[in-house]
Amino acid sequence: MSVLLAARGLSAGWGGCPVLSGIDLQLGSGEVLGLLGPNGAGKSTLLRAMAGDLAPLAGTLALEGRTLADWAPEQRARRVAYLPQASKLAFPFTVHEVVMLGRLPHDAGRRADEAIVAEVLAWTDTNHLASRLYTLLSGGEQQRVQLARVLCQLLHRAPDEPLGGRLLLLDEPSAALDLRHQQLLADTVRNLAARGCSVVLSLHDLNLLSSLADRLLVLADGECRALDTPAALLTRAFLGELFGTELAVQPHPLKGYPLVFPAL
């Protein structure tokens, strides 16, 4: 598995004061990495550093061996797509127009753009919303539309092309989604990863994270506490200490991955 993104001794933060320090990480292509940690642990900061929003305060962060800042913005936009926690679009674009904005870095032509948009609308179950006004949608619908926009940014020329060398960053993508759409999101992430796309996502839903992620990066107070498979990390003792609360862990009755419950 080739390395897509490599962090070495990475520190990042706002206004020169680090929120995150000493992160070492190698992300392979097609790997799904879950970020886990209490509120304020630095999950969003790490995602924004990977998206190129925050320049490293120390250490390096390289995409295919080249520092993020060395990539031309247009080139990087074709490789890295980032879904922020909250979006604040306040103009009444239609859903189709919002999703089409994701095609901005590409010049695949109108036909290919339309085909790709139609495909990601199906992935996110937003087909039926295409001509609605974005500003009049519910929170969960808006989140799915933004997800669709970010997904169609990752595709270059065709909906079914291989996706090696691309990185999808999702910050709390399931926060406003109902159960069915959480499953749809999980299916999409698995499908993209199987085609070679690397995915980094933060989720508070431990069970969704456990079913999706190849490895988990556990953050606490801006430092890396652990980096391992969900099976190795999602244990009662480790989670209880991390979140400071009593939890119970059981294997999934059908799939076997660990499930986490509050131990009331």
Partner: protein
Amino acid sequence: MGAVLALCGAVSQGLFRNPLADPSLIGVTGGATLGAAAAMALGAAALPALPVLTVVSLGAFAGGVAAVLLVYRLATDSTGTSVATMLLAGIAITALAGALVSLFEFYADNALLRRISLWKMGGLETGSRPEVLLALGVTAVLCVALPRHGSALNALLLGESEAAHLGIRVGRLKAILVAWIALGVGVSVALAGTIAFVGLVVPHVVRLAIGPDHRYLLPGSAMAGAILLLLADTAARLLAPPAEIPVGILTALVGVPFFLSLLRQRARFGMVAA
């Protein structure tokens, strides 16, 4: 001029991600007015070699640029640009500029006073050949330059960092757009005084009609602005002949009630208060 004002209005609404942004609300018009008044009062004496028109235009342009930079600087910190702060800063700058213009008027002699105050009301009555040429030139340049940024402005509506993730060089884009706005508003203020609300209302109406996509919004606004101002100017000439009501008064009289009714109806069109 109408086209220029409406274009600048549409671009600043996109730039500040706020449908209420207008060159006159964020202090650009105020700054340009101050620059032009200062140029009228002081510049003609200081630089007698240059034609008056050039001095006033330069003053208005400089005032516009200074105001927009100041407002932008005040409203931006490490976390980004706050639209609310920008509007408040714009109000403050406008008030300051207004006070300074009044100061110039206070010390002006009668002829100059009448010139400043007539010009402040906004009018298109004085159309000398070089003025018309300058207006045409700037309009042509802006009509070509600004619509090219339509797609980028669409991306900017998502937020600055989101636009950056889409490969837009956001810093450079903002600098270019601010410079164009200051040029357009500066020249328009220098030639025609303050013509209120065209920059605010026209993009609004066009957006309601054809949607917020800047690729169509910018040319649409330019055309609608030109038509609106032509109508307003014709009305201004016909209402009380042979006198000509300054057209700025007319656009404000019509524009303000229209703007207030837009405010009340925004929710229906899916506009969320920013």
